[in-house]
């Protein structure tokens, strides 16, 4: 018992002594990938999606890579993204308080959905690179009519060609 407790503590203590991380360890960590999105607050397990009701959709990520996915009805696009490790931030965990879950839909899917509510429109006003097809991912829920929907993530950076931005050390 005592030994186990001590082992656990030692493991934590090692983590505390992190300044001495060696190059080899950090490279190994890097190979495991950088983990950014937290588990969605009300997430689902993508391996347990019922194939008979699953809805197909495609996420196009910021590099243009396409991810064909299946999602359960009722899941929000934010939950779908998180369940499938797509880098869509949901800073307020779907409380309509941040606009970091901003996505673009394809026109037919956009038209199928009910108009965004006032609160969603208010937050959309603050989103970067807003377009006519912008929605907040935490507010769009999957339904069978959306079969085949395409969801595109907005650009992650300012467009340097447009605003001529080049970072310089000051």
């Amino acid at each position: 018992m005592l030994r186990q407790a001590l082992l656990r503590t030692l493991r934590r203590a090692r983590a505390t002594a992190a300044p001495r991380v060696t190059g080899a360890r950090s490279i190994a960590a890097a190979r495991r990938g950088v983990h950014c999105s937290p588990p969605a607050a009300h997430g689902y397990d993508p391996r347990r999606v019922d194939p008979s009701t699953a809805i197909a959709l495609t996420f196009v990520d910021r590099d243009g890579a396409r991810h064909a996915l299946k999602a359960p009805p009722g899941a929000s696009l934010l939950e779908v993204a998180h369940a499938n490790h797509i880098d869509l931030e949901g800073a307020c965990e779907g409380s309509l308080a941040c606009s970091t879950c901003h996505v673009y839909l394809d026109q037919p899917s956009f038209d199928l959905l009910a108009e965004p509510c006032d609160d969603e429109n208010d937050m959309l006003d603050l989103a970067f690179a807003l377009t006519e097809l912008s929605r907040l991912g935490c507010q769009v829920k999957m339904n069978p009519q959306l079969e085949g929907m395409q969801v595109t993530l907005p650009p992650a950076t300012r467009n340097m060609a447009v605003d001529g931005f080049v970072p310089q050390p000051h």
Binding site: R12, S26, D122, L126, F128, A156, P167, P169
Partner: protein, 461 residues
């Protein structure tokens, strides 16, 4: 490769995220002036906006799942006036990114600010959020005590500025105090507000309504979602603004909220509410403060009123003179005034991200965009074997807080919250010394366990 990120606010965390992705073999040391992370998410965002603060969960999960590549050093300020200088970082790291937030709040140029009754919006936010700096002492006394003395017993408060932070101040002062009990607001502030006789908060803006800087979301909340607050403004002015053709969608919806959900300044309805003792939020436009004069128990605020000239467009600024026609001046007597005029973007050396870079404005998520933009274009000379600051810290004996130390502070604060009767919220430690002691106790316990473990192993071998 070892990189320093100075400042652990949103920009610091987003920069760390981008760095870890872009440089797969880098380690990031997150160096923060305060013992605790999260910057203005913890100390700026209003206590009654817990959803906005949830981003802290995202940042914490990110650190915890990349523990071997991120080190947090709290209570370590970097500056030419600090023991740890920017030049040290050049020796210790392959690259340094500054995410230290905005440098200074804007003030009123040419207007004498009295030492009593007038404070910055940041002072208010720090006071409500229990920032350790608020307990610092100057020649005039302890800042928290001065604010408390002036806010206590005050019926009318003025805020100079018409942005979201101005609305935060008004909402916190006017909303029923019971709504605040279960938030993470500082207990001493809660106590003071529960006895507050406050009747009105007036927000003064230089421009006409369409020029207000608040977001529709913040306006809609205070105007439609908080019971017990009646909001009023001049509907005549509003109508003039709404007739303008070149308004954006967001300005249009903002003006719509004002016209549909507020009471006209000259209406009988407003007098009725005042008579009933409702708390009033006054949104005043085209008024520029020009002088303050101190009384014994209050301050007189002199304002210049303008009227939109005939040829004015957009925000009613004359395109030729960039100003409005001056009509007259008025005086308003207030118990306390908060200046909420925004921030000057940061200055300093090195690569800068977030509020330290650019204009010192924008919401939390904007900093992600900014960090990605800056980091995506960097290349680092990986020529030197960077050692980081751990040697400097141990050789100087500088007290610092690790990520585990912060987790202990976090646990202590949550425990105090539940002892105080808060279901989901904390009571913050407000003194740096107390935070350091909690973190150091954790480190000592850890050393003790290590010692015990070693003895245990040795005795078995």
């Amino acid at each position: 490769m070892r990189i320093a990120v100075v400042g652990a606010g949103p920009a610091g965390f987003y920069a760390t995220q981008s760095l870890l992705k872009r440089f797969p073999d880098c380690t990031v040391d997150l160096i923060e002036r305060l013992p605790v992370p999260f910057g203005l998410v913890r100390y700026g965002v209003a206590p009654d906006h817990p959803a906005t603060k949830k981003v802290i969960n995202t940042f914490s999960a990110f650190v915890n799942s990349n523990r071997s590549r991120i080190n947090f050093y709290g209570n370590v300020a970097v500056g030419d006036d600090q023991p740890l200088k920017p030049s040290h970082l050049k020796d210790f790291y392959n690259l340094t990114i500054y995410a230290t937030g905005a440098a200074h709040p804007r003030t009123l140029p040419g207007v004498h600010i009295p030492s009593r009754f007038v404070y910055g919006a940041q002072d208010f936010a720090f006071w409500a959020n229990g920032h350790p700096d608020i307990h610092s002492t100057s020649a005039q006394g302890k800042l928290s005590e001065r604010i408390e003395r002036d806010v206590k017993g005050t019926e009318n408060v003025a805020v100079i500025g018409v942005g979201n932070v101005a609305i935060d101040i008004a909402r916190l002062l006017l909303r029923p105090v019971d709504d605040l009990r279960s938030t993470d607001i500082s207990p001493s502030v809660l106590e003071l507000l529960s006895e507050s006789p406050i009747k009105s908060v007036s927000l003064f803006g230089r421009k006409s309504p369409s020029g207000a800087a608040w977001t529709t979301a913040a306006l809609r909340e205070v105007v439609t979602k908080i019971p017990g607050i009646i909001t009023t403004c001049d509907h005549g002015l509003l109508r003039k603004d709404m007739e303008m053709s070149q308004l954006s969608r967001s300005k249009k919806s903002m003006l719509k909220v004002l016209s549909e959900k507020t009471v006209d300044l000259n209406s009988a309805e407003l007098h009725h509410h005042e008579h009933q003792g409702s708390r009033i939020l006054r949104l005043e436009f085209l008024k520029t403060p020009i002088a303050f004069s101190e009384n014994v128990e209050s301050v007189n605020l002199r304002l210049q009123c303008s009227q939109p000239a005939k040829d004015m467009v957009g925000e009613h600024l004359n395109p030729a003179t960039k100003s409005c026609e001056v009509r007259d001046t008025i005086e308003s007597v207030c118990g306390v005034v908060f200046l909420s005029l925004g921030y000057v973007g940061g200055q300093g050396s090195g690569y800068r991200v977030g509020w330290a870079n650019g204009k010192g404005a924008g919401i939390i998520g904007d900093n992600k965009w900014d960090a990605e933009t800056v980091i995506s274009s960097l290349s680092i000379p990986d020529t030197m074997n960077a050692v980081g600051i751990s040697h400097w810290l141990s050789s100087t004996g500088h007290r610092f807080v690790s990520w585990e130390g912060w987790e202990c502070i976090d646990a202590v604060e949550k425990k105090r919250g539940s002892e105080y009767g808060r279901k989901d919220e904390r009571v913050k430690l407000e003194s740096v010394e107390e935070m350091l002691q909690v973190a150091e106790r954790q480190a000592q316990n850890m050393n003790g366990f290590n010692q015990q473990f070693r003895t245990h192993c040795e005795s078995r071998s």
